[in-house]
Symmetry: D3
Subunit: 225 residues, 6 copies
């Protein structure tokens, strides 16, 4: 007779110590990582780029991230080899993603995660899946990561994700009919810009992350579960 | 100046109460689910199939699952409308998946998750992603869910997953050269059977789950993180 | 002036002797196979797996196949290296494929063939194309093998195959709307399970066969033409 | 206990009477076709195009086909609405397909079938699958229809089909390296032209047939099995 | 502060001298081509095929081309190694492409370009993009090359291109519904044949050109801009 | 006998008047556009977004563009509804595209065009195809638009485009091996960042343009031919 599968033992020991910003100790006993994802906290990309000098503004921004999140997102560290690029990235994200007019923060994270899932980007799915979990709920986050069609969404949010995903996988087929579908779901032309802008932005970061093997801070994995 | 993104607040309140097998209470306040994924714990598929009578063996098996895992996996409940089908499923899984000769339990879960990720199956990614987290580690689990190529794997495990994924997405292109690659990575012919058998099995369950909108027990989402 | 193509000469000599279970003689004159497909009757897969001992039940089952069909299907021989796996396979197929409630045997074979055609599986297309020819008619069999859309099907059977094929090639896109289409074509929820179960099963066997280069009994090729 | 599958009964009654060119009787008893594929023998495409007047040369060619094959291939009837188009088609096929320098008639049919299989063209797979069966053997024909990779081919023929299939599904990726692979397999530049010419021709006829729902003469299905 | 991009300087010197049929001088100074595309005017394909003897008819046809166009299209030179093939090609194109009943010359070029764009064929996009520019307008030509969906087309022309492109990329999915869409857009059954015939023809030439690395006459690039 | 195709008449009248920044007159005689692409010069996207107020810096930038190029690129006008977004876009492009370390301006345009061709983006192919024509040569520009594999490139540039295109169509498959290929072609880690950054940027703009039906200035079409 078959045995119940043991893939999820009730009392599985917590295998991963909680990483903190102060302990990026990669090597634990026997040369193994001190905790799962420990290397990702210190080796951010596959590229060897000499660290650049941060501007006072960026120094302050990093400090603020650390205070608020408890860590500095690796994507910022990845750009930090060149302060000009870093500032442009932070500002572009602010203007073209975060300054959306009516999209909620959760909706922005949903688009980011669904888009990144299509592109199978380890960095972005991890970071933004966490965003959906924290701002929405843990199960919604998982559905955005795995298959957004599994989620029970409002007509508005479904239309928003259908557009973002079509724009991701076959942008050449997006036509007026697709914009009309968004309008019928209640979105304004400005919203259409914002949805497109957010989806387009993550199509960019997905590729930058995949091209450089950018690794997410390990702390994301355990948050808001 | 841009603000640090707030997608991962340091002290985000745990939004999801721990579900237990005794409290499948879907509705909380104001008609909302009592906790994220609560509906998934009571409405297992989109199909209305009258419950069947379980054999004493299956009754015992369900009881054993409950004792060991703390819950009965929804896939078993989904099959329970017909005891003959349920028994055949449990036995087939035992023989063709769990009775692999040299593949470890973790490796079986890795194949299951990587295959299910290709097919974007909410049920199977959730259940087996949990398996990888519990038997391996939480970050490995996430990489299997998102993009197995992100993981730093041994040559053996990489070859195993490359084969399983190719078999999933373009089985018609699998040829002797692919089997030779497995042999060169240390696998026997029996192992090749086992890898194929496991990958093929989850290609089946992925489709059964997607066809019926099978929902994973909500408890999986929070385990082994 | 062009000559009529000679690809289908009126009196082409029958090139393939009728294979029988008693004459798996591979080598004919000059080291060539005794008849087309002769090797496939003796070398069932590309894997070298020592034959296992069959249970009395399985011995009886093989004998029954031989009496009824005139041969033992190679898929059974392929599983015979392990009696436990063989029994589980035969039982699973019985319960999850053959025990469909209202699907006819022909319809099951149609699904099996259309699914296997998508996956370009030599073993399964051959065996189940034969099934469609025998239970339906020879031309229907060919259309299931080549392109099921060419067949003039009832609304019911077309919906059934559209669902099975979508489930095969992009299972992640199957949603309630697809189930509703089946219901509108007259299928019950139990039928939906059965269609999904059959399609899923052959998605599994297609991959097991492709992974192992499983070869169909040569006798199939000439039957029910 | 499971029963042996009955998909291929030993003594299945021959369900399809042998069609002849003199009996395109579509309707049998109860309005059903007289035999499988009977409609295909009289309604050649989905387009209503008034029959044109054939030139004496084409009249003679049709007569020759009928004497040699026992029927007039439906593709010729489909073009017959316009004698100019018909003559151009017959001549082009003669010059660009049949006048290949070293490719054998069998190899031409193999390319035609493998290409048509990629495009899932009912007419062309049927007609040329028959060609491979008649000129090669019945099992080789089936493998060309289902998945040419299943066939045990010489290095020459495998390279030939790999090139033809790549040219069919992603022509934009064919480069000097692909031509070099053909040269290394023993083909001359003229052979490369011929392989390309044959593959290209069937990519054309596949689309003409699919666009018009061109139906193959039913007699093909039973020949050379 | 960012500088305006300099990718399109207002007074960019004309870098490419106008090629003429009398000056196929490949080598300019320092072994570089005399002008962009100069090699393409003398080395027509990657295949070394000894030139054949042209019939008087073909000699006259080449002369006529030269007088009318100012050059002989390279595709004709590519076929010229075998006069029989050349004549068959010219005649087939005349009958199956140019003898369309109601399609305008522009519409034929639009289909040719949109199809060739799907297959990313350098020769055919260049030659027929030029055709659309000359017979329609320069911007329409560019849209056919890049993405026909960007063009503001009549319902008739959009339906025509949708059919041609579907026939190109997934011919197996073309069904009666697609033909009905054409009929609703005002096309007759004869027009459907013609659209299919033109689309199919360029699916053929695209592959012949890609297989042989056929190069377009450089003069096309600068015409009708 | 066939007639020479007339798709490229020697003396085709120039149909498109040269558009200037001072004459965005859309309507010519009979309500038709004054010249091909005339609407594109005045209706930049499909979205109705009220114009925003430009900062003095952006005013100056627009003026500079006009002086240098003779027009203001439509992408800038499209962003101009929000000065913050416009500035962020211009600065990001400057930092992440134009500030590449060793990539030449031509190489940046080549990546932009090859990437945009994969995404079939009318705006970006037009603008950057022009860039390649102006900085490289007209034929190179056409090859980047149509199929970059047709170009005879240095090992360096071919590796660069292979990476950029792979990153565009299947970013999830980019691994260390791909970076190694770039390094072997002579690129530094900083160059890898730059190539990735440029390719990623145009994957973003392609989607923003497709989502909003952004139209290129008509003047691009005729430049540097």
């Amino acid at each position: 007779m078959a045995q119940p599968t043991k893939t999820a033992p009730k009392n599985a020991p917590k295998k991963r110590p909680i990483p903190t910003k102060r302990s990026p100790v990669v090597n634990g006993e026997k040369g193994k990582p001190a905790y799962p994802g420990a290397e990702d906290d210190v080796k951010v990309t596959a590229l060897k780029l000499a660290p650049g000098k941060l501007s006072p503004e960026m120094e302050a921004y990093f400090k603020k991230c650390d205070e608020k999140l408890g860590f500095i997102p690796n994507v910022l560290k990845a750009f930090a080899f060149d302060n000009g690029k870093l500032e442009a990235f932070v500002e572009y994200r602010q203007q073209l993603v975060q300054n959306a007019e009516t999209l909620s923060k959760l909706e922005i994270e949903m688009i980011a995660t669904a888009v990144s899932s299509q592109n199978r980007c380890f960095y972005c799915i991890t970071a933004h899946g966490n965003g959906v979990r924290a701002l929405g709920d843990p199960v919604l986050g998982e559905m955005m990561v795995q298959n957004y069609r599994a989620a029970r969404l409002s007509k508005r949010q479904r239309a928003m994700l259908d557009f973002a995903v079509k724009l991701t996988i076959e942008p050449w087929k997006v036509e007026e009919e697709d914009r009309e579908t968004l309008r019928r779901a209640g979105f304004t032309d400005r919203d259409i810009w914002d949805i497109a802008s957010v989806a387009a932005f993550y199509n960019m970061t997905n590729r930058l992350a995949s091209a450089t093997d950018m690794r997410p801070n390990s702390v994301y994995h355990g948050q808001a579960r």
